[in-house]
Assembly symmetry: C2
């Protein structure tokens, strides 16, 4: 054994990421382990550490791919909607759909504890920022007389709000029953928030 060179460093990385995403999609974050990933791609655990710093990096890379997929979904959604208000609403619904359809992969982003405050790599930060920027852009027309600062606040409040409803509901921590479905909650949040926001402007 040893010295196989069947694959390049980059190939092994991508194979490992694919394997990890498969495992998580099936068994959840709890089911993921370095040894399982290694076995799936036909290499030893040791090799994984030749190509990633540790399991945390592998997880964050996988999460970055999930954030990319979410971005693509939202971009496509934004391309298909009419006015700003309808677009924000559509983005909210797209977020719910993405979270429900990719429960485990989406969940891993939030179950995996991030490294200390400023140790978050730039390539990860950029993904987060890109998604938020999309929300800001969509919100823009509704907040013409609003400062950039206030726009940033609004986008973050809405994004965080929608996310909170999703994560609590999907992990059964919101006592959601009957007509208080997740989409109903998100629509209520967005609807009322935007009413308040535009009311401000007209004063």
């Amino acid at each position: 054994m040893a010295r196989r060179s069947d694959h390049s460093r980059e190939q092994i990385q991508q194979m490992a990421l694919d394997a990890a995403r498969d495992i998580v999609a099936r068994d959840g974050y709890t089911g993921l382990s370095a040894r399982k990933v290694a076995k799936t791609i036909g290499y030893t655990v040791g090799t994984l550490y030749l190509v990633f710093a540790n399991l945390d990096e592998l997880v964050m890379r996988a999460n970055a791919q999930t954030l990319d997929a979410l971005y693509e979904t939202m971009l496509a959604t934004k391309a298909r909607c009419k006015n700003a208000r309808a677009c924000i609403m559509a983005l909210g619904r797209a977020y719910i759909r993405f979270a429900s359809e990719n429960t485990h992969l989406w969940g891993m982003i939030y179950e995996h504890p991030l490294p200390d405050r400023d140790a978050i790599p730039d390539w990860y930060r950029e993904r987060v920022a890109r998604n938020l920027a999309l929300v800001e852009d969509t919100l823009q027309p509704l907040a013409k007389n609003t400062s950039a600062q206030e726009l940033a606040v609004a986008a973050r409040a809405l994004w965080g709000g929608v996310h909170g409803i999703c994560i609590l509901a999907l992990t059964n921590k919101l006592d959601v029953v009957g007509a208080a479905s997740v989409p109903a909650l998100v629509e209520s949040l967005i609807d009322n928030y935007l009413k308040g926001l535009t009311a401000n402007r007209q004063r």
Copy 2:
């Protein structure tokens, strides 16, 4: 050894819970292990399994205590505020404070994956319901002409929203900088949501 009877079953449970909460408060959910808990209370790992079904149950019991502490804080907050609008705002701020001051214990509630849908024990469900009920009660005066259904939706949308902002901000996933502080985001959310909600009523 064996047959010590130094403590009752209930005493051992409480000692284990206290130890677990200490460990998590210091090292976070990742730092928790059955062996550490056992060592701290001076018993063997085996004993833990005589008193809890497994580590998951221990964690959920500890989380229930955290939910109780949160409830007490919110109850005290509600007792000290003036009108409904101010009270909801105060509850939001209390939630932020609690989350920031008990980061790890609060975080464990959300990092620990809950059992399957309906396998959540009643004593846990009750804790969640009680916190939500408090929000509903506080919201009540603002929604006089609103159905119970709509009130339930509003309480859940707000609670989920506030939670989402907290969890994203506290785990550095909201790109929060400068004036877009966590309290500013929560205030924006509550303020605009309530404006929208009361505007509905006046139509």
